[in-house]
């Protein structure tokens, strides 16, 4: 628990008659109208779900935020939480024991101070903020404290901008991760392009050395070091070499092709060439790849397409030339017709990805359609759709809710495209899902990142981190990933595992509070979408506060109410537990309109669960069917055995105990037995265990018409009539691994058979 008084229960006062209470609550629930004084409005109040009572002051908590956008992340750790960096520093500098304990305490104080600074709007690099926080603490602790903390600051292993969980987090974090992946991509791109340029240059260089120009005296002289230049007569050398050298000039067409490819590869504008290490020198500034609308992205892509096609063509030609596999007869027609049609997803993946950052609130139906169109076009585009308000009212108005509808519609439409990577999550969970974020950015095709920022709205008092965490916890904004590269089926691709307790309708948490007698009470409560909505003042009219004196058995938690069959609801009304700014516990009952929205939210969640393989109705039906069939089968077998046992008992009683053999169960049938016997009967023909032959050449040297090697270079009998039994026996005798088995002589008239048969015996 951080901040605020301990959670206590509202004190009880004497209320109206129970019957009137029930009547009033039921009327409110069904109509949303308050009748009587016992139902208090919460409009103007500052209530939050009871489960969030402990999170008043986030700066005193160690959690994922603030985070540091790591500069020059070499190991893929493009973002680190402040806590993890502090832990690393402590691990390095704090010695065990009391001395280390003091240091640990000071550094943790600094971390806390740093959080407060960031919460109050401080911005900048971690190293700067660290110094600032150290200086601030030194005011109380003296110069030595500042020195200690500055010293620990010098041991920071990473640096980068520090950002808190605010409305900018999705775009900044995604953009930073995108830059990281683009840097890696740029390295791979330059490596490959430089390799090709080097190979093409080598071809031209080799051609020059073999050419007439390369044999000129001045060229030969340039190939010898300064020190020994006077020792040679390069004119004579040129004449001598000229006489013996073949006329091996590079064909004109090939030279033109190579020079064209070099030119195209060198003047690319897709990536900025790294200074000093690249063979590429860009003539113009590289292209911009970050946009704020899909339409702009499409336009930019279209404008650059011809250049991209030309570049891929040059790369392909260069790769074939570098490998010595360019065949003009075969490849010229292909490259003459080369166009965008020939580009594959992997070709496009070589180039920078387009990043489009869109605010969901600003996207109308037309823009949504363009987003879908872009994502379906196989372009290397990564779209971030940032949602600011997940509890917006439906465009239908008149009290209709559209909770999470916009993002859900987009995500489900895009998932239908099958080959788009999707990551949906909230800001609060973004750090935990940084791995999936990178996976999506590295995915070769298009990707959609749908992120709820939890941005503080005037309708809520919660900070963005808590708002976004509550949205995910309450299933109002569900986290999921859909990764087409993870496998061919939904089970591999779709995952809900990043949601809290995904197997349940709602996450169940422990709620502890002190009752009127100041005794500890512990309950397990569900965190539902109604708990999330209660934070939003726009929907305060859907709640009514019930004084402690009027709590009754008909008031049941929202999750229980939702699990009832509508026909069994009766007089029961749903309630949620909330606290005010003093952490006093209240119960609010909820009207039916909101409960209808909650029920729909749960149904949507059920649909997602099915996609994620949780409570899958098809699987459950199949399982039930198979189980019933299995039980039926077993039952039949049991009955059959019983009947058999009864019959045997009768027979035994009559004539003793005969042996019964059931055909097909015991001994093999006669036909099968004959077949097996035939297989096992020894053959008179000679044979070789070919698989064990060690290719020693002994047998093939004796008679290579009789013995030969198969496709694995192991011996077999090629033609038994091409040699004598004597040769077979001799081969068996010299075979190093004894895999030749002579069998019996095929020609009974062969001389010396008696002796040969005797010699063959050890090898049979």
């Amino acid at each position: 628990m951080t901040g605020g008084p301990p959670l206590t229960c509202e004190s009880q006062t004497i209320g109206p008659e129970p019957a009137a209470t029930l009547q009033g609550q039921a009327v409110f629930h069904l109509t949303g109208s308050r009748s009587g004084d016992e139902l208090e409005s919460i409009e103007g109040g500052t209530f939050r779900p009871a489960l969030l009572a402990g999170y008043r002051d986030l700066s005193r908590l160690r959690y994922d935020y603030p985070v540091v956008l790591v500069e020059s992340a070499a190991d893929g750790a493009f973002v680190r939480s402040l806590s993890s960096i502090v832990d690393d520093v402590l691990q390095e500098v704090a010695p065990p024991g009391m001395e280390g304990e003091r240091l640990r305490r000071q550094v943790l104080r600094l971390e806390c101070e740093l959080r407060s600074l960031v919460r109050d709007g401080a911005k900048g690099m971690l190293s700067d903020l660290w110094e600032k926080a150290a200086a601030s603490l030194a005011v109380d602790g003296g110069e030595s404290v500042e020195q200690i903390l500055s010293h620990t600051g010098a041991r920071l292993s990473v640096d980068g901008e520090v950002i808190d969980c605010d409305h900018e987090v999705p775009s900044r974090l995604v953009a930073h991760a995108w830059r990281t992946t683009q840097q890696q991509k740029a390295r791979r791109f330059h490596d490959e392009v430089n390799r090709l340029l080097q190979a093409l240059s080598d071809i031209l260089r080799a051609a020059f050395i073999h050419s007439e120009g390369g044999r000129r005296p001045e060229s030969l002289q340039a190939g010898v070091g300064d020190l020994h230049r006077d020792d040679f007569d390069f004119d004579v050398m040129s004449r001598l070499l000229g006489k013996s050298a073949p006329a091996d000039e590079l064909p004109v067409a090939r030279r033109e092709r190579i020079e064209w490819a070099i030119d195209v590869l060198k003047r690319q504008r897709f990536f900025e060439p790294p200074v000093g290490t690249s063979l590429v020198q860009a003539a113009e500034l590289p292209y911009e790849y970050r946009f704020s609308s899909c339409a702009e992205t499409m336009t930019a892509f279209g404008e650059r397409l011809s250049e991209l096609v030309e570049f891929v063509k040059a790369m392909s030609m260069a790769a074939l030339e570098a490998d010595g596999r360019y065949l003009e007869a075969k490849h010229d027609p292909f490259f003459d017709a080369f166009g965008e049609h020939a580009l594959t997803l992997e070709d496009l993946a070589l180039f920078p990805d387009y990043l489009v950052c869109i605010d969901a609130g600003d996207t109308d139906a037309a823009e949504s359609a363009v987003v879908t169109e872009v994502l379906s076009s196989d372009l290397p585009v990564k779209v971030l759709v940032q949602t600011e308000d997940v509890l917006e009212e439906s465009s239908l108005g008149a009290g209709h809710f559209g909770f999470g509808m916009r993002s859900m519609q987009l995500a489900s439409t895009v998932m239908g495209l099958h080959d788009v990577f999707i990551l949906q999550t909230t800001s609060s969970n973004l750090y935990q899902l940084r791995g999936q974020l990178l996976t999506g950015l590295e995915y070769a095709g298009p990707a959609l990142f749908s992120i709820f920022s939890g941005s503080a709205s005037p309708a809520s008092d919660l900070p963005p981190y808590l708002t976004s965490a509550a949205a995910m916890e309450s299933r109002a904004f569900v986290a999921f990933t859909y990764d087409p590269a993870a496998g061919p089926d939904l089970a591999s691709r779709f995952s809900l595992e990043d949601n809290p307790q995904p197997e349940f309708d709602w996450p169940i948490e422990d709620l502890e509070y002190a009752d009127e007698a100041l005794q500890r009470v512990k309950e397990q409560v569900a965190f539902t979408i109604v708990d999330f909505i209660v934070c939003d003042r726009r929907y305060a009219r859907h709640f009514a506060r019930i004084p402690r004196s009027q709590w009754n058995e008909n008031m049941i938690p929202v999750d229980e109410w939702l699990s009832l069959d509508p026909s069994d609801v009766g007089q029961r009304v749903p309630h949620v537990n909330v606290v005010d700014e003093h952490n006093v516990l209240y119960r609010l009952i909820v009207d039916a309109k909101l409960m209808q929205a909650a029920r729909r939210c749960r149904e949507i969640w059920h649909g997602l669960q099915e996609l994620g393989g949780i409570h899958n109705s098809h699987a459950e039906r199949l399982l039930a069917r198979e189980k019933a069939a299995w039980e039926e089968e077993k039952q039949r077998e049991l009955e059959s055995l019983r009947a058999e046992a009864a019959a045997t008992a009768v027979v035994e009683g009559a004539v003793g105990a005969p042996q019964v053999t059931v055909a097909g169960e015991g001994a093999p049938g006669p036909e099968l037995a004959v077949e097996e016997a035939a297989e096992e009967a020894p053959s008179d023909d000679p044979w070789i265990e070919t698989k064990r032959c060690s290719t020693c050449n002994e047998c093939t040297l004796i008679n290579d018409r009789m013995f030969a090697y198969d496709e694995n270079k192991q011996a077999y009998f090629k033609d038994l009539d091409a040699g004598t039994f004597r040769e077979i026996v001799e081969a068996a005798e010299v075979c190093q691994v004894a895999v030749i088995h002579p069998g019996k002589p095929r020609n009974p008239n062969e001389p010396g058979l008696e002796e040969l048969i005797e010699r063959a015996k050890p090898f049979q």
Partner: protein, 329 residues
């Protein structure tokens, strides 16, 4: 998923090779020599993996086994005695894209080349090393080698070898950074092939000692193992060698051995009574020297020349008046 257009084009022209495509000159090894079985296993591997002959280099030292590159229709380097490893390392460093094999014998590797051998293990470069161990110097007509068993009579040990034989497997397993150690015998070609294939697929210094027969100078030496399959211990594992039913029926002396267990590998390697056959140790996580030191950057002729000039200048004796000038430059 699709593939880049360049790969599409490459695959159009992809060549499928037969064993004959890898066959170089006619072998001059003795009939019955185990080198033939090793050659066949390697050629089969090349064919089955679809390796382009122009992308392979076989480097050898001196000895019967070191004639191996002549019999492969690939690039090859028949080096000098004991120096196969440094040559192969140089090739790999300069051309990491090539598949580099080293064929060396028990004398070449374990005697004159022993220092290079030890450090090659430590460098863990991506090389496939086949140690053809026939326990004797065969090319020079029967002298004792480091692996000759104690008591072996040879031209240099007419009263029998005085020393215990060196065990190349134990030695390799004792060197830091050993990443793949296996033992095969030439008379079980199926397992020999599997082990050579596993060695090839391992990224790092894969060392395979292949015990082989020398029918000319030690014709009877391995007879007991050939006659009695129970004297060969087959090491099997899902991450190692898996025997076919035929082999399993013949070689019943088997043991499940996890190639990640180096302690057990050392214990098995030191057994005297049986010949262990299989993958004793494999650790794919050890980095390769070429990855640690190679820049991955292309090296244009200008850069190579500048590097060479700098190296050579360091040893150049300049005229007196220019020493300071060049040093300053």
């Amino acid at each position: 998923m699709t593939i880049p257009v360049t790969q599409c084009l490459m695959r159009f022209d992809e060549e499928h090779h037969s064993l004959e495509d890898y066959q170089g000159g006619v072998q001059r090894w003795c009939n019955g020599c185990g080198d033939n079985a090793i050659l066949t296993a390697v050629q089969r591997l090349c064919r089955d993996e679809g390796l382009s002959p122009e992308r392979m280099v076989f480097v050898s030292g001196i000895g019967c086994s070191s004639r191996f590159p002549h019999y492969m229709s690939t690039y090859g380097f028949h080096g000098i005695h004991g120096r196969a490893f440094p040559i192969a390392e140089g090739v790999k460093m300069a051309r990491p894209d090539l598949h580099v094999f080293v064929n060396t014998g028990d004398g070449d590797c374990c005697s004159i080349g022993a220092a290079h051998w030890i450090h090659a293990i430590r460098y863990n470069m991506n090389l496939t090393v086949l140690l053809h161990d026939n326990f004797v110097y065969g090319l020079t007509k029967k002298q004792a080698s480091p692996t000759s068993p104690k008591g072996l009579k040879s031209n240099t040990t007419p009263r029998g070898a005085d020393l215990e034989a060196l065990n190349p497997i134990s030695v390799t397993l004792g060197v830091q950074n050993a990443s793949f150690v296996a033992q095969a015998v030439d008379w079980i070609p199926e397992v020999l092939y599997d082990i050579v294939a596993a060695a090839y697929r391992h990224k790092g210094f894969s060392f395979v000692r292949i015990i082989q027969r020398c029918p000319e100078f030690l014709p009877k030496m391995l007879e007991p193992w050939l006659q009695d399959p129970s004297k060969t211990l087959l090491l099997t594992h899902e991450n190692g060698v898996q025997l076919s039913p035929d082999m399993a029926r013949i070689y019943k002396n088997q043991r499940e051995h996890d190639p990640l267990d180096i302690d057990r590998a050392r214990e098995i390697a030191s057994s005297d009574d049986v010949i262990p056959v299989g993958i004793l140790y494999r650790n794919p996580d050890i980095p390769c020297y070429e990855d640690l030191r190679g820049s991955g950057q292309p090296r244009p002729a200008e850069r190579i020349r500048a590097g060479l000039e700098a190296e050579l200048d360091a040893f150049t004796v300049w005229p007196d008046d220019s020493t300071a000038k060049h040093a300053a430059a």
